[in-house]
Amino acid sequence: MIRHASKLATCGAMVAGMVGLASASWAQTEVKSPTLDAVKKRGQLVCGIDTGIPGYAYQDASGKWQGLDVALCRAVAAATLGDPEKVKYIGTTSKVRFSVLQSGEIDLLVRDSELTLTRDSQLGLMEITPNFYTGQTIMVRKSLNVAHVKDLNGATICMLTGTTLETNISDYNRANNIKIGTLLFDRPEEAFAAAESGRCDGYTDDGGSVAAARSAMKKPDDWVFLPETLSRQPLGPHTRQGDDRWTNIVKWTHFAMLEAEELGITKANVDEMKKSSTDPQVKKFLGLEGDLGKGLGLDNDFAYKIVKAEGNYGEVYEATFGSKGLGLPRGLNNLYSKGGLMYPWSWY
């Protein structure tokens, strides 16, 4: 009997222990994000960006990084660390960008990278959501008098290697039974020089990058964009697979910038709105009501910090690609309510 009882006790203890362990580990998975922990411990976000291209990521006259992608890095730093300046930027070439992320050298990759099935399924990466919609665009010299892409039969187009550009051209060739030649360069400097000198008839990249290339030409007005795009190119941030919480933080940081635009909250009026707004949507967004931020493992006012630091998506676009930047119309990157594709997920 006594032996029985002790057996039972052992059994009970084991069960209790297992339940305890399970609940502990369950509780842990809910808040645990190795990347977020590492960022907080380091006191700095390490963000992989482009090595330098107007619009996405470039250094201004004072050497400070600017751009649409840089803004997302800064916004994530503001949301997680409370300070948009606490970012270390790692310039990555298109060849190494994914390896650098896989190896853990960077916490987040925001480098005008296309979201594709192959990358999502075979590289151990998470594709979050597009922060820039574009399509492969070709720019040619005005003097060639070319109006459409299909008129380019026999022409040679310069582009960068390590991308999806040459495949899209190849698909276009097969679909239209024409032959557009390609010339692949490792770095933008030589590719721009080759286009400028006439070695190629045109230059191609995603719409944003071609706008950047045009701004680098000696006489930008000599170049025109052809109206057709050869591909859809949803560009967006990437994280490592297996850290879902971190992926969520990046995703909702982007959505916070969209939601702010939707709600009419800007960098300039965010403090005012926080003080005086009676709109429950705004109050929830800025963390005055509910606990949306806590669910992400962040401070409840993370969205306030993001808008305070970077402004809303529209402001960032205007400063980088829009009227104050490269002069690219907003197009697909407008809010859904204004004819674009930017559609924030529901904020509750």
Partner: protein, 371 residues
């Protein structure tokens, strides 16, 4: 047994080998483990997948629907082509500058010295980009092509050479012509019962030219059509820039090797040749250079290997060699980073091992046989 130094040495070597293998195994296992944990698959099956991109310059046919494996072959041949061209020109130019460096004429000597010091003290990549951007991109557009003799066209897109379209038996005749040219030096040395053929062997190359001419049906001239020149064979500026960058840079190093090797030949050899009444040219080419060659060969080998490896700089000027096509486009499209890098490394290792094996064989052939 244990005390014998030789068996102890063997034991130490075996232990070292085991340790190296253990470390290698650990690295491979660790990499495989990490790949598995990051949900990355590993394998070479992707070589049979459709490539779907264009390779603008190639020696063998290529269409966009070919496989990655075929892309590897095409880019491999491009690497071999530019390496071979680079080695030939670097050797000839290096020999010339090396001999100039020892000239009794002050101007000739100084020009060679200036060339060497300027070229070998500036980065090779910058030189390649210089040839490409600053020199070749100043050529006129296709519409304003420079017309050269024999129907050649020169413009910013390259040098265009008329194509010979072979007739019905053209291919056979062309192969016969090649065989005739290859046979020439052997026939030259032929000795039939004391009757040496010698210079009469030059009939063969003439015959080859006639055979080639007979095989050609018509010529395809390069002409402007649309945006580009159509017809003819294009020598693209990317190839020329890389070729120039590789051969001129290495020629500077080879020139110094040549100079050093010539100076290492005992002075008495030159003096003896002079005493026999030989003029300066035969003295150099018959007496001194053959002896200097023995000293040169091992050092030349490493320069040749450098040329082959530096051909990867072609990626900067859009020359489609192995590194650009395979470690660039294919790596990006297939996502197979480790596999593509392993393949590219294996290819360069193979080319370089073959090149050094050949040079070692040649070295043994020319080395002084001591009895």
């Amino acid at each position: 047994m244990v005390r014998r130094p030789s068996s102890r040495a063997y034991a130490a070597q075996w232990l070292l080998l085991l340790a190296v293998l253990a470390v290698a195994w650990f690295i491979v296992a660790d990499a495989a483990d990490n790949l598995g944990r990051r949900n990355i698959s590993f394998g070479f099956g992707f070589l049979a997948d459709r490539a779907n991109f264009d390779i603008p310059f190639r020696l063998v046919p290529w269409i966009e629907s070919d496989t990655y494996g075929r892309a590897l072959l095409v880019s491999f041949l491009n690497t071999l082509l530019v390496s071979a061209l680079g080695i030939v020109v670097a050797t000839l130019l290096g020999l010339l500058v090396g001999i100039m460096r020892l000239s009794v004429n002050w101007l000739v000597r100084s020009v060679a010295l200036a060339f060497i010091e300027f070229v070998r003290n500036t980065p090779q990549l910058i030189q390649i980009i210089f040839w490409y951007v600053a020199v070749l991109q100043t050529l006129p557009s296709p519409r304003q092509s420079i017309v050269l003799p024999a129907g050649l066209l020169l413009n910013i897109r390259g040098l265009y050479i008329p194509n010979a379209i072979l007739g019905a038996h053209g291919a056979l005749l062309a192969w016969l012509a090649v065989a005739a040219v290859i046979a020439t030096p052997f026939v030259w040395r032929l000795d039939i019962g004391g009757w040496r053929i010698g210079a009469k062997a030059l009939v063969l190359p003439v015959l080859a030219a006639i055979l080639l001419g007979a095989g050609v049906d018509r010529l395809e001239w390069p002409v402007l059509k649309g945006f580009n020149i159509a017809g003819g064979t294009q020598v693209p500026p990317e190839l020329v820039a890389l070729w120039a960058g590789l051969s001129i840079y290495t020629a500077a190093f080879i020139a110094e090797i040549v100079r050093g090797s010539i100076q290492a030949v005992p002075k008495g050899q030159g003096e003896a040749a002079k005493a026999l009444g030989l003029k300066s040219a035969p003295r150099m080419f018959l007496i001194i250079l053959p002896q200097a060659l023995r000293i040169m060969v091992p050092q030349l080998t490493s320069q040749y290997l450098n040329i082959i490896k530096s051909s990867t700089l072609g990626a900067a000027v859009a020359y489609p060699e192995v590194f650009q096509i395979f470690a660039g486009t294919v790596m990006n499209q297939s996502g197979r980073e480790i596999e593509t890098i392993i393949i590219v490394m294996a290819i360069f290792l193979a080319i370089n091992l073959l090149a050094s094996a050949f040079m070692n064989w040649y070295n043994q052939r020319v080395a002084l046989v001591e009895r």
